[in-house]
Symmetry: C2
Subunit: 398 residues, 2 copies
C-alpha cells in the first residue's frame, strides 16, 4: 500500500485516494435482494438466495434481544467479555482465544489485514466465498485461486501445493515487500457456494502440507449443518488455524451481525489491536449469549435443514437435475452449463424467487437454492419446474 | 505498510503478523464501564462517563426496532438504501453523497484508510477523540497533534498551520511513499472531550487555510446539542469535508451501531469500495429511519440536555469548580491540576459513578461528566461534593 502520490486535481475535486484505493474496481461482492426488488418494483415471494435461515431465531434469544432494546442508548461492552466467556466455556478454550466481531466478514478483514495487507498474497478456492477476495483486494493482497475438484469439493491438495509454490518465491525474496509467498489461506468448510464438506482428517492432511508461515482462515459459518460430531468441537492444536463461526446461519441472526473467531491467543491478541472497539451491537452481544445457550433450538434447525436438503435432492431427481451433496442450508442444482444455469436463475428471479448461483467453473453450471420452510420449498420446486421451460429457448440447447 | 518479512518463529508459534501489526501497542482507546465493574465486582450507580444519552430512544424508533427482530434472520440491505435515501432527503443532498456505517468509528477507519493508510500523515487536536489516533496507528499513519488553545477550544489556526507545514515537506518528497505531508485532518465539532464548539464561520476560515490535498474528517457526533441552526444543515460546498453524524448520541442508539457520512459523491464512492457490505444491522437500519423521522424527540432531548448543562454549571459554581463551556451532552469540571482531577475521578469511580477525563493538557485538569437525568445529576453532584474531600489528602494540595 502506498501513500497518495497522485497529483491532486486542482479543478476543485476532492483530495486523492491512496493509490490502492484509487485503483479498486467499484464492484461489490453481492447484490442484495433489496436492490433487485428496487429494480423490478416487486417484492420477492421467496428469499432463498442468501443462505439465510428460514427457521428464525431461538425464542429465548428473541426475548433477550427485545430486552436489550431497553438499554440501546448504552454502548455494548467493547470487550464483548461475557459473550467471549460463554464461547470460551462452550468450546473449552481460554477467553483470550476468542475474538468477537460483527460477522465473519468483519473477522476476515482483520485477519487478512494482520497477516498480508500491503503487498502480501493469499490463496482461495476459485469461486468460493466472494468476501475472501473482496477483502484481499481492498487491503492490497494478491490472490491465487485454485479450481474446485471435478466432484465439486475444494481441492485441498492443490490449495496446499499452490501455497508451497509461492513459498518458494517467498524464500527467494525475503527482503522484498509484497513479493513474498502466500501467508493467508482461505477455506470455508462446509464450503459456500458448493455446499460440500471435508472431514477433519482431510483438513488435517491439508494442514500438514501447508507451509508453516501460512495462517488459515477456516470459515465454519455452516458448521451446524454438517454431518459431524457436536458442533462445539474445534480443530485445535495448530496455531496457524483461525476458526470462524457465526450466529448468522443456524442461529438465525444474520441481521444482528455477530460472529467469533477461535485461535491461538497470540493471534487473537493481534487482531484485537485492529478491531473496532464498539463494533458489535448491544442487541447482538446479548442475544448471541442466549442463542448459544439454546443449543436445542440449533439442533432442531439442523434437523429441519437436513430434511429440507433431502427434499431438494428429491426435487432434483424428479426434475432430472443432479444435485451437489450438501453439508449446508442450501443445495446446488446442476443445470449442465453456465448458460442454462444463468437462464434458469433469471427465470426464477423473474418469478419472484430470490436465488444466486456459483460464479466460477465447475460450479457455475449450478444454481444455489436455500433450504426454506416446507411451504417455501414447495413454491421453489414449482417455480423451478416452470423455469426449466426457458431451456427449450436456449440456442444449441433443449 | 509492509508485508511480513520477519523471520517466522519456528518453535511452533503462529505465523508472523505484517510488521505494522507486529509493532502496534496493545492499548485500546477506551476501557469500558463493564470492564471496571468486573474489576470491582460492583455495578456503577450512575453511568455518565461515555457520553451516552440518558434520555433513551424515540418510542417510535423503539417500536420499529422491536419489529425488526421479526426479520433478524435476514441480512440487512447491504446498500443501506432506504436509510441513505431518507438521510439524503433530510439534508437535501443526493443519495450518492451519503455513506452509512456501523458508528462514526467505522466511518473514521474507512476515511483514514482511503486517504492516508500505509505511510501517510494526519493531524488532530492533542487529546481529542481517541479513536482518531487509534485508527491512524492501526493503518500505519503518522500523527501530528496540536494542543488546544488556553480557552479549551480546538486551535484551528494552529491545526491549519501544522497541515501547511507538513505540506512543505510533502512537496519536497512527492516521489516518496510515507514521507509526505498530512492528508487527513481530524476535527470534532462540537469537540470531545472538551465540549467546546466552533461556529461555522470559524470552520470556514480554517478550511480556507488548509492545503487543497487535505481531507477533513468533521466529526459532528454532538451536533444535535450545539447552539446552531437546525441540525439538518451541513457545511457543504467543499469536496475536502466529510461530515460524520451518528444515531449514538441525541437519538439514544449507541448500542445499535449506526452513523453516516455526508461528503463529495466521489469520496463516498471510494469509501463504499472498502466498507463491510453487511456491516450495519437490520435493527440499526430500520430503527435509524424511524429515529430520523422523529425530530421532535431529538429536539426534546436537546432541550433536556441544555437544562442539564446549566444545572452542571451551577453545581460547579456552588462547589467552586470552574466548568468549560459545552455544546455537548457533557461538561468538563476544572479541578485545577491533572493530579487533582485524577484523584477526584478515582474517588467518583470508587463511589459508583462511572466518569472519564480528558487525557492531555490543558484539559487534563478536568473531569468530564455526562448530562444524566435530573435524578442522576443529583447523585453525581452529591458524590462530586464528597469526592472533593480527597483533595485535602493530596501532597502539596488543599
Amino acid at each position: 500500500m502506498r501513500a497518495a502520490v497522485q497529483e491532486w486535481n486542482a479543478a476543485g475535486g476532492p483530495p486523492p485516494f491512496v493509490s490502492l484505493v484509487a485503483g479498486l474496481d467499484a464492484a461489490n461482492p453481492f447484490v442484495g435482494p433489496e436492490a433487485l426488488e428496487r429494480t423490478t418494483g416487486a417484492r420477492f415471494r421467496v428469499r432463498v438466495g442468501a443462505n439465510e435461515s428460514a427457521f428464525g431465531m431461538s425464542p429465548r434469544a428473541r426475548a433477550v434481544a427485545a430486552g436489550a432494546l431497553d438499554r440501546l442508548s448504552w454502548y455494548g461492552d467493547p470487550e464483548n467479555h461475557d459473550l467471549r466467556a460463554d464461547l470460551a466455556a462452550y468450546h473449552g478454550v481460554d477467553g483470550g482465544q476468542v475474538l468477537v466481531g460483527a460477522g465473519i466478514d468483519d473477522l476476515l478483514a482483520l485477519l487478512v489485514r494482520a497477516f498480508a495487507a500491503g503487498g502480501g498474497r493469499a490463496v482461495m478456492p476459485h469461486g468460493s466465498y466472494a468476501t475472501f477476495a473482496y477483502h484481499a483486494a481492498t487491503f492490497g493482497v494478491a490472490l491465487d485461486t485454485v479450481p474446485y475438484r471435478a466432484d465439486d469439493h475444494v481441492d485441498l491438495a492443490a490449495m496446499a501445493a499452490q501455497a508451497r509454490a509461492s513459498e518458494t518465491t517467498r524464500r527467494r525474496n525475503l527482503s522484498g515487500d509484497g513479493n513474498g509467498g502466500a501467508t493467508v489461506v482461505y477455506l470455508a468448510n462446509p464450503d459456500n457456494p458448493s455446499g460440500t464438506w471435508q472431514p477433519e482428517a482431510a483438513v488435517r492432511r491439508f494442514l500438514a502440507e501447508l507451509p508453516d508461515h501460512c495462517i488459515v482462515a477456516l470459515d465454519e459459518a455452516y458448521i451446524d449443518y454438517a454431518p459431524t460430531a457436536p458442533a462445539r468441537e474445534l480443530l485445535t492444536g495448530d496455531a496457524r488455524v483461525v476458526t470462524m463461526r457465526t450466529f448468522s446461519k443456524a442461529h438465525g441472526m444474520a441481521g444482528a451481525r455477530v460472529a467469533y473467531a477461535v485461535g491461538d491467543a497470540r493471534v487473537c491478541a493481534g487482531l484485537d489491536r485492529l478491531r473496532l472497539q464498539f463494533g458489535v451491537s448491544r442487541v447482538a452481544q446479548e442475544a448471541a449469549r442466549a442463542a448459544l445457550a439454546d443449543q436445542a433450538f440449533v439442533a432442531d434447525v439442523a434437523r429441519r435443514v437436513a430434511a429440507g436438503r433431502d427434499a431438494y435432492h428429491e426435487v432434483g431427481r424428479a426434475l432430472g437435475l443432479p444435485t451437489v451433496p450438501s453439508a449446508t442450508n442450501f443445495v446446488c442444482f446442476d443445470l449442465g452449463s453456465r448458460a442454462r444455469a444463468e437462464a434458469v436463475m433469471a427465470a426464477l428471479l423473474g418469478r419472484g424467487v430470490f436465488v444466486r448461483k456459483p460464479p466460477a467453473p465447475p460450479l457455475d453450471r449450478c444454481i444455489r437454492l436455500g433450504v426454506g420452510t416446507e411451504a417455501e420449498r414447495d413454491i421453489v420446486a414449482a417455480e423451478l419446474r416452470r423455469a426449466l421451460d426457458v431451456l427449450t429457448e436456449l440456442p444449441g440447447d433443449g
